[in-house]
């Protein structure tokens, strides 16, 4: 069968993903994550009497810790699967991807297993995060100079 003809046949029988429903779920869960994050910042800033900037770091560490803990306890993948981008885009997604890879390769040793593989999924986030940060810094510097 010709390639385009087969592609049409496949498309005809392939179910459509509910993009709208997924977006709504991600919007709501992502919004809840935002509220939790803001709540944590206020909490740390008030009770530890630190600046908002320092409290933001404490909030990130807390969310990373909770994501890693829940991933290790084995139920966070179900939450992520439900919430989709609501949990993948925030720092929880990064922590979840790193932790799940670390767990996966633990049996192959600390160095060649965990060390070599834990950034398998999230390594790309670091690389492109650094590259894009550098690019925008350069642009900002140049624009600032004009």
């Amino acid at each position: 069968m010709e390639k385009t003809k087969y592609k049409n046949l496949v498309n005809k029988h392939t179910p459509k993903e509910d993009v709208f429903y997924n977006a709504i779920i991600a919007f709501i869960t992502g919004g809840i994550m935002g509220i939790i994050g803001q709540g944590l910042i206020d909490f740390y800033a008030y009770y530890l009497t630190i600046s908002t900037k320092e409290a933001t770091v404490c909030m990130l560490v807390t969310l990373i810790f909770i994501s890693c803990l829940f991933t290790s306890l084995g139920f966070f993948d179900k939450w992520v699967n439900f919430a989709k981008c609501g949990l993948i885009i925030p720092i929880t997604g990064f922590a979840h991807a790193t932790m799940s890879a670390a767990l996966e390769y633990r049996k192959e040793g600390m160095v060649l297993g965990v060390g070599a593989n834990m950034l398998k999924l999230s390594g790309a986030v670091i690389i492109f995060g650094v590259v894009s940060a550098w690019t925008f810094s350069v642009i900002r510097m140049l624009v600032g100079a004009i």
């Binding site: 069968m1 496949v10 966070f76 939450w79 992520v80 699967n81 890879a101 996966e104 049996k107």
Partner: protein
């Protein structure tokens, strides 16, 4: 290429599964099911290898033989270097053939075994096929604990191992013919739509089998494809009709039979080399022995997928091998 056999029989079979398969509709047809995914081993890869050894042990127990009675041991699985089979082979004194055809491994092993028995080169051959959900996810996709969403066409790799003893001693199930398929470029690059990848290969093998044996599609009480899943099943029906003018009537897919698709979160159904033999050796052969089915064509389908090549933007090749079984 099609082979016809006069002298090849199925002496007995054995099936070992993981916990998900035990919760499916065919659970009572399996010989043993483990409650967790480690099977008492340290890792999933070792668990898969153990499931092969377990299936062989159960099979030998059923027929009252020892490992030393077996001439040749043919085995295949989904792991890199067909590791699970090799390590299980280390426990077998028989000559060993490791085979790989992704999820079509079961019928490839059966065909090689049947040819050896037909030519009187061997009289007792055990063929095994295995897969393990977590070991396969780890190798082909993402870490098991990673919960990124998957499309609806995704299939769920089955966990377990199925063993079959072929011999020239008469029994109630006869292997009558086998067709070795050719590698078909599916033109599909979506690794989450394996049904679409394997449909052209399945259709090609079914067509060639019927043509080379001179049989019509109604000759079989049941044509059973490997793991096309819910959507692949529909694709195959339409593909066969459009391309070859064949209308599938008595047709099913082992991928939609192994799990309860309503209750279990398996997306489009089961996949993996163990799927077709678990359903066939467990359930279908039982139905044949009870006289409910007489002639069955098993067309195991395999996506010859490599993550390296799909990352290089190549489409995924696929293969299907068919074996016909008859109750006598």
């Amino acid at each position: 290429m099609t082979f016809k056999y006069n002298n090849v029989y199925v002496t007995d079979t054995a099936t070992v599964t993981g916990p998900y398969e035990a919760k499916g509709p065919l659970s009572k047809y399996f010989d043993h099911s483990y409650e967790d995914l480690y099977f008492g081993q340290k890792t999933w890869e070792q668990a898969e290898s153990k499931s092969i050894s377990d299936a062989v042990d159960i099979l030998l127990d059923k027929v009252g033989m020892t490992r030393f009675d077996i001439d040749t041991f043919i085995s295949g699985d989904l792991l890199n270097q067909i590791t699970a089979s090799s390590y299980a082979g280390a426990n077998m004194p028989a000559s060993y053939i490791g085979v790989y055809a992704a999820c079509a491994t079961s019928t490839l092993g059966l065909t090689i075994g049947a040819n050896m028995i037909e030519s009187s080169e061997a009289s007792k051959i055990i063929c095994t096929t295995s897969s393990h959900n977590n070991a396969a996810e780890k190798q082909y996709r993402y870490p098991v604990e990673y919960g990124g969403p998957k499309p609806k066409t995704t299939t769920f790799t089955s966990t377990g191992s199925a063993a079959i003893l072929l011999s020239n001693q008469k029994s109630d199930i006869k292997v009558t013919s086998a067709t070795l398929g050719t590698v078909i470029d599916s033109t599909i690059t979506d690794i989450y739509n394996m049904g679409a990848v394997m449909t052209p290969a399945a259709a090609d093998t079914i067509y060639k089998h019927l043509k080379e044996t001179g049989r019509t599609i109604d000759y079989y009480d049941l044509i059973l494809t490997g793991d096309l899943g819910i959507y692949g099943k529909k694709m195959l029906r339409e593909y066969l009709q459009l391309e070859y003018g064949l209308v599938l009537k008595n047709y099913n897919d082992t991928g939609v039979m192994l799990y309860d698709l309503e209750k279990q979160p398996v997306y489009a159904g089961a996949s993996g080399p163990a799927t077709a033999p678990l359903v066939t050796y467990g359930y279908i052969l039982d139905q044949m022995k009870k006289g409910k089915l007489n002639k069955v064509l098993l067309v195991a389908t395999g996506a010859l997928m490599s993550p390296t090549m799909t990352n290089q933007k190549l489409s995924i090749p696929a293969i299907a091998h068919a074996v016909s079984l008859e109750a006598i």
